[in-house]
Structures are given as structure tokens and as C-alpha cells.
Amino acid sequence: MIKKLLLLVALLSFTAEAGSAAPVKTVVLDGSTTVGPVAKSFAAYFTRKYGVRVSVSESGSGNGAKSLINGSCTIATLSRPMKDAELAAARKKGVNPVATVVAMDGLAIVVHPSNPVRAMTKTQISSIYNGRITNWKQVGGPNANIVVIQRESNSGTAESFRDLVVGKGVQIKGSAETQSSNGSVKSRVSSTPTAIGYLGLGFVDRSVKAVAVNGVMPDVKTVRSGSYPVARPLYFYTNGQPTGVVKQFVDLPKTADGKGMISELGFVNR
């Protein structure tokens, strides 16, 4: 009796296994922490809709590129275009990286609404964060010391800001205050008249004032056209032109649902 039962259980589990194995393909994503949220919500959506298993790891853009070259991931997510060295390494291994732009990532530089400063250059902002400029009057504002607010080093926004504004090899000064989320940066800037901070474009509202950078105001249009300087495209890289499920996944940003998810996460649709 018991033996029969066991047999039955074994048979059942076997068929169950076979059933779940039907969608053969698993899509593996690896790379940028900035693209991470988009990749994750795409993955959840994709699994729900098509029953395809999607795994997402966030090990940084460089590691994503490495994974694609080594063949350990299907799609590499990068917050920057692939470097020449990476492309060369890929070609050597017979991998042909093809880029698809997922979304645009734009950062607004924000100040207190009462601050008369309306526009700054990228160099000025970089100097403020580096500590070379410490008073608002040096950038055409009132005579008041600047309270510099940045994000925790683990944030993708902080990474974008460092790459796009502060520049490589320049250190943000130690006395800069660090906040843990877009929300708390906004709350600090909106309650501190002499503060400066940066936010993902989706987080800007009336409680803070975004300033023009190099003469361009940040909004969906200027970010999309590429004229706003503190913005960058985010990429999915595949080996060769994507096909099948991978193509379906890479094309998600073109669908209405994909667009919805992207703008919900504070990014800008291409």
C-alpha cells in the first residue's frame, strides 16, 4: 500500500516537473544597479505574462559586460555604452554585442524654492560638490554658505551624478550631507533654504526648485532629446540581434505596459 502511494507521489512529481519545464528558456540579466529596478519589474511582469523565468543580478555595469562576454548572461544591463576595450574583448570571443536603449535616466539639480539661483553650469555644480565653491554668492545667489546634500554611495542616482556632473577622479567633499533616498533628499532641500541636492527626474515637485544646467531646464522633453546634460541612456546589451523570448523582453520598453513601468520608476521613455 505504502509502496504504491510512494510510486504515485513519484509519478505525480515527475509529471509536475515535466510540466513546469515546458518553457525551456530562462533569461538571465546581469549588470548595472541603476537599471536594476527596471530590469526587476520587467522580469516580474514577463514571468507573470509569458511564464518565462527571468533572473536579475545587479553587479555593476562593468560586471554585466563581462558576464555577456563570458556567456554567463543573456542580457547585460549597462548604464553607459560599452567601452572599446570591452567591445574588442567581445569580438575576440566571438560575441557580437548589440545595444538597445531601454530608457533615459535624468537627474535634476534642485535648490530651495526661495533660492534666486536659476541656472548653473556643470563646472559650478561640480565645484560646489567638490568644495571649491562654498557660498551661494559665488554662483550669483545670496551671501550664504551652501549646504551640500548627496545620496548614499550605494545609490544608482549617486553613481549617475558622479559620472555625469562631478567627473571621474574628483572627490565629493567629506562635509557633504548624505541622505538615503530621493524622498529624504527632497525633504531636506525643501526645508533648508541654502541647500543643494539632486533627484531622479520623477521625484521633482513644487516643494523644490530644479535649476537649469548649462542653460537647459530638466524635463521629459530635454532629457529625451539629449540636450539636458545630466542625463544618460540605459542599455540592454545582447549577443547578436535578439530573437524569440529575448527579443520579446528587449522590446518591452516599446509596449504600453513597459512604458508605464519605466515612468513609474522615475525614468524617461525613449
Partner: protein
């Protein structure tokens, strides 16, 4: 009780327990003791394991980067390539807010405990103590939210005025006391009572005016201070002191109560006033308990994470000048909480292990504090028991 007595031979036979029953009793007794032993040693083992696991992940950091960078430089750029892991400013920030909160919470807490135990009537104490203890039940994130959203903007807008009022309220009573005592001391040698009274009055007037001027001057200086950022060491120190207060008050009050009525009455019987009894008899007798309370309170401030994470500003630098409580700082606990998300163990090895090094440092500090307080308590007890 009945069985115990029954065990003795010269009692009546009604309570004699059969040998079988006695064996069972013994076995149950043993089992109970064993269970308690296991439970008690479990706690000790947990502490040891925490030490072991934190140290296991902390030591690789020192192997990778050595000691001098961590303890002597204050360049904290863990995300850079290559990263910089100077934690001096962060250690300093932790010590700064702990000291700041202790400076507020310890005098206030002990004063409140004395007031509760020896001055207020019982009917008031009955309600006051639970209310103070309720402070301990407020979750720290609520304190943090208050510090960030209410207190920080308040400090920015009205910081100078707040500082001025705090100075006046705190300093005025002490100044009055000081002037009176000083005048008494100055005129105590004059023999003629009438003349003494006159001079005394004169001196009170003179010093009173002087110190009132001083009070006012310092007050206006404080009022002129403009607080640039509300998320600073002062904000965090004040909020942390509120969090440490219930522990200090409650434990000190228990210590003061434990001194006992006989000692108090003995003191009164010898002709001591209430002030003398409190200062010279009760406080020394309860000092070990009060010290334990203070250490517990300080540990609470040192280990608190959420409030400092939200309201200290988290900027890894030593304030300029070093005692400037009006600048943002960063603490060990906040750094661990903030950086843990990114520092995954596979990729950023030094970046991951440095957080454990910080955890180990916190553990060692609290361990030393506990050890010291234990030693003092034991010694105090020996002195008081007259050995």
C-alpha cells in the same frame, strides 16, 4: 513546603513521602536545573557567537588594508576605485553624539530620579514614573522622523533663539545660587552683624548685576548664531538624550529606592537636613546602581541607529572646530546601516569587511564599558558593605 517538612524525621508521619515519589521529585528537580542551565548558557553562547561571526568578517579587512588607514585617516570613499576607508571621522562622530547625549541625559536623568524617589509625594510618583518609562516604548524611527521633519527645520529657523532660551533657563538658577553663596563666603568674616548684612547686600547686588550682564551677553551671542543645517550633531544629541533618559531615570530611581528607609531615617536622626541626606547619604549609597544606569543609557545612545541615520546628516568629516555640534556628522551605526545594501560579500571585499570592522569596534567599546561598570559596581558594593 509540606513535603520538605515531612522529610524531617522528628515530624509527624502524615507527611512522609514515599521513596518512589522522592526519586521522581529529585529527577524533576534535576531536569529543571538542567533546563535553566541550558537556557542561561544559551544566552552566553549567543553573545560569543555574535563576537565570533563579527570578528570573522572583520579580520579580513585589517588583513587587506591594515590598521593605520582605518583608525588615523578620515577619507571615507568606500565606493571609489580603489576605495578609501578612513573611519576616524566616523568614530569621532559616534563618540561626539554619545558624549553630547550623555551630557544632557545624565544630569537630567539623575536629577529626575532623585526627584521621583525622594522629593515628590508618592501619589505623583505613581503616575510620573510610568509616563517617563513610556518614552522607552516609542520606536526609534518615530524619534528619527521627528528629528528630521520637525526638529531639524526648527533648529534652522529658530536655532539661535532656542539656544538662548536654553542657556538662560539652565544658567539662571545656577548663577543666582552662585551669587548668593559667593556673597555669603565673602562677608562671613565680618564680625559686626549690621555691617555684614549691608556688605552682603552690596555684594549680592554687585555680583548679581555683573552675572546678569554676562548671562545676557552670552544669550545674545547665542541668539546671533545661525544654524546652517538642522541635521547636525546637536539635533541628534538632544534626541538621543531623550531616548536614553527613561533608562537612566528608571534604573537610577530603582537604585535610590533600594537604599532603604533605615538609612534615610538614620541620617535624619543624626540631624541631617533633607539636602544633606540626599547628597551625602543616599547618593553615595546608590552610586553603583546610578553608574549602571548611566552606562546603560550611554550604550543606548552609542548603539542607536535609526535616529542618527535619519537626522545626523551623515557627512564623514570631523567638524570645524572639533567641538562644533552644529555641523553634520556621521556615526558608525549609521554607516553600517547605510552601506550594507551595496557592499555585497562577493564583489566589494574590503567594502564589505570594513562594515564588520566597525561592528567589531562597537562591540569592543560596549564590552569595555560593561566591564568597567561591573568592576566599579563590585568595588562600590565592597566599600559599602564595610569589607
Amino acid at each position: 513546603m509540606a513535603e520538605e517538612r515531612g522529610g524531617e524525621r522528628n515530624r509527624t508521619n502524615t507527611f512522609v513521602v514515599s521513596s518512589r515519589k522522592r526519586t521522581i521529585q529529585k529527577a524533576v528537580n534535576r531536569a529543571g536545573e538542567l533546563l535553566l542551565l541550558v537556557l542561561a548558557s544559551f544566552v552566553a553562547v549567543v553573545v560569543l557567537f555574535i563576537f565570533y561571526f563579527v570578528a570573522r568578517d572583520a579580520i579580513p579587512f585589517f588583513e587587506l588594508r591594515g590598521f593605520s588607514e582605518f583608525f588615523t585617516t578620515s577619507e571615507w570613499y568606500p565606493a571609489d576605485e580603489p576605495g578609501k576607508f578612513g573611519a576616524l571621522s566616523i568614530i569621532y562622530g559616534s563618540l561626539m553624539v554619545t558624549l553630547g547625549s550623555a551630557m544632557i541625559a545624565v544630569p537630567m536623568g539623575i536629577a529626575a530620579a532623585i526627584c521621583l524617589s525622594d522629593i515628590l509625594p508618592f501619589s505623583i510618583r505613581q503616575y510620573a514614573k510610568p509616563v517617563i518609562e513610556m518614552l522607552a516604548a516609542i520606536p526609534s524611527v518615530a524619534f528619527g522622523f521627528f528629528a528630521l521633519v520637525v526638529f531639524a527645520p526648527l533648529l534652522q529657523d529658530k536655532g539661535g533663539a532656542l539656544l538662548m532660551w536654553a542657556w538662560w533657563i539652565l544658567a539662571a538658577p545656577f548663577t543666582v545660587l552662585f551669587v548668593i553663596v559667593l556673597s555669603d563666603l565673602l562677608t562671613t568674616r565680618i564680625k559686626d552683624p549690621a555691617r555684614r548684612k549691608q556688605l552682603n547686600l552690596l555684594s549680592v547686588l554687585l555680583f548679581g548685576l555683573l552675572s546678569a550682564g554676562l548671562l545676557y551677553r552670552v544669550g545674545t551671542l547665542l541668539h546671533a548664531i545661525e544654524i546652517l543645517t538642522g541635521t547636525n550633531a546637536l539635533n541628534v544629541s538632544i534626541i538621543l538624550s531623550f531616548m536614553a533618559l527613561p533608562t537612566i531615570v528608571s534604573v537610577s530611581e530603582d537604585a535610590l529606592q533600594a537604599v532603604g528607609r533605615d538609612i534615610r531615617e538614620g541620617s535624619y536622626a543624626l540631624g541631617a537636613t533633607r539636602a544633606e541626606t540626599i547628597v551625602k547619604t543616599i547618593l553615595p549609597a546608590a552610586s553603583s546602581g546610578i553608574l549602571a544606569a548611566v552606562i546603560l543609557g550611554i550604550m543606548r545612545s552609542l548603539g542607536e541607529t535609526m535616529v542618527v541615520w535619519m537626522a545626523s546628516g551623515n557627512s564623514a568629516h570631523i567638524p570645524e572646530p572639533w567641538f562644533n555640534y552644529l555641523e553634520a556628522i556621521r556615526t558608525l551605526t549609521a554607516t553600517i546601516a547605510g552601506d550594507m545594501g551595496e557592499a555585497d560579500q562577493v564583489t566589494g571585499s574590503a567594502r564589505y569587511h570594513v562594515l564588520f570592522a566597525m561592528g567589531l569596534l562597537l562591540l569592543v567599546i560596549s564590552f569595555i564599558c560593561n566591564l568597567v561598570s561591573e568592576r566599579i559596581v563590585v568595588r562600590q558594593r565592597r566599600i559599602l558593605s564595610g569589607q
